[in-house]
Symmetry: C2
Subunit: 322 residues, 2 copies
């Protein structure tokens, strides 16, 4: 995605410039560590891009874009504790490298730092953006709780699942766009349209992520093939399959999703049912639906001339095979 | 403290009115639980009192005072995990009653809720107060990290200790006063003076807390006598004692503070050294010093007529025997 290069470079440079040198180092070391683990940096890049495309001054969006990346990493630090995840992006997670206490406290500090990175904005924009940011944070906490509930919940409806991924992925993507729009003085209508564009793009992105767990090129995905199945994650694949399954298939699916096993037969059996039911087609249709909705909102935006960038961005995120 | 009654009642009523009814209940239940455990509610009361004494509209300070109590309880939820504390105010702590994951996530949600409770303020006050609030949060995280460092740090200087209690107790007390002042449109000078008043009052309060651990009326303190000694906490008593101790006393003190034992001889021996060295006198002197400083800042305030309330408040907090 070459057209993103200028935003990526601006962001990476800012991230480096803003490495935390505060004391006590025990608090800031885990923060600097997680921030150097990499990742796609999609959210802060979205903010920079939105500011730029709406004709705003990108330099004003730099610290807010850092705020968004800090916020995202705060959630990763705490979620990894809850998920007991040993690895993040192939590297040791914060609570494993240091300890749980430090991952909690450094996460807290990082969330507060995120709020501080909006302080250069004028009063009115500060309030509008911080209000949106807090609402986003609240939604994310609620989404994470729903996700945790699903682990022990016997049946998860598609509606419940869609709400959860909207909270966990859609909202922050949407807010990242809208924050850029506000910084660039976009009209309130346009700011809402790009929010909705981001919302559906975020949902489509997450559904694609679910799909790639089984149907992706695992050598490129960078994650273990069918990791979600091993972890009994009730993703959209499982939910769609259960909707369409006959009694025998449903019994088998439920059987496997109750077992904690590394047995490869589990993946074979579950994937076999997925294939019989053509789950991938159903999910592809859902992804297409949200991509279409995203593009409809994009059409409505009046303050952006160069919409091609956003269309390409959308297609690249959704079209990816890993 | 009868003169506080109106603030206490206003706050308690607001707390009840604002019980969280949001979904998912798994996220908000631990929040409602910790908020009903009671406590002195000093910080929110301070905000209401400051707004009132500076002649402001107390109704505008209600949600900010809730924000401060939420923030305080967020820190308690997370600190209790780190301290592995089974009890808080005589009741089961959140991570013990629910689990660590929920205590982390509900704490995060409560911090974000705190930020949201400033949103009724006009743009300029919102920014000024949220900026102060974030700085306070940052200081508290740093203070908590220093406190954790002290557990394994062999020697803690008085300077390091004073900085830690300023971060952990002084700053939030100070900010609670200043937020009330800002809401009431106090002059910037007065807002800073009441901040400094609160800072020294908070420090004196914490030193008094340290003192009461050994020298308090444990039937009234509501905590186990000499709990800090059992937990090897390097409080001001220990630090002052070590400063003045001869070689033999120092060796004995260090010996006991390395042991994890329930042996009552530990308390006898340590308290005996404290008494030989008249540690209580030294700490009393320090408390007096900070009380004096607090009152000097109180004198400088121009926008409050009825300073007696604040003097009484100061004397009552510092004069308490439990």
């Amino acid at each position: 995605m070459k057209y993103l290069n200028q935003y990526v470079e601006t962001f990476q440079e800012a991230l480096k410039q803003n490495e935390f040198k505060d004391e006590p180092k025990e608090l800031y070391e885990p923060i600097n560590y997680i921030l150097t683990l990499g990742g796609k940096r999609l959210r802060p890049i979205i903010t920079l891009m939105a500011t730029d495309l709406f004709g705003g001054d990108m330099s004003q969006a730099i610290k807010p874009s850092l705020a968004i990346e800090y916020f995202h990493n705060f959630t990763l630090m705490h979620d990894d504790i809850m998920d007991k995840a040993p690895l993040r992006r192939g590297k040791t997670t914060v609570h494993e490298k240091y300890n749980v206490d430090r991952a909690i406290l450094s996460g807290d500090a990082l969330l507060i730092k995120a709020y501080q990175y909006f302080e250069d904005l004028p009063d009115n924009k500060f309030k509008e953006i911080v209000t949106l940011f807090s609402k986003t944070g609240q939604d994310l906490c609620e989404g994470q709780q729903y996700d945790m509930n699903f682990e022990t919940q016997l049946e998860v409806t598609e509606e419940e699942y869609m709400k959860m991924i909207y909270y966990k992925t859609g909202v922050l993507t949407a807010a990242s766009f809208k924050i850029g729009a506000i910084i660039a003085d976009a009209s309130p209508e346009d700011a809402n349209h790009i929010f909705d564009f981001g919302k559906h793009l975020g949902i489509a992105f997450q559904l694609k992520d679910d799909l790639l767990d089984v149907y992706g090129d695992s050598s490129k995905v960078g994650k273990m093939h069918a990791g979600d199945i091993f972890e009994n994650k009730k993703t959209i694949l499982f939910i769609k399959a259960l909707e369409k399954a006959n009694e025998e298939q449903a019994t088998e699916l439920r059987y496997w999703y109750k077992l904690n096993t590394e047995n490869i037969d589990k993946v074979y059996s579950v994937e076999n049912i997925f294939k019989q039911l053509r789950v991938d087609h159903m999910v592809e249709r859902e992804i297409l639906e949200h991509t279409k909705l995203a593009k409809q909102y994009l059409e409505k935006i009046e303050g952006i001339e160069n919409k091609k960038v956003l269309k390409d961005f959308c297609d690249d995120l959704i079209g990816r095979s890993f």
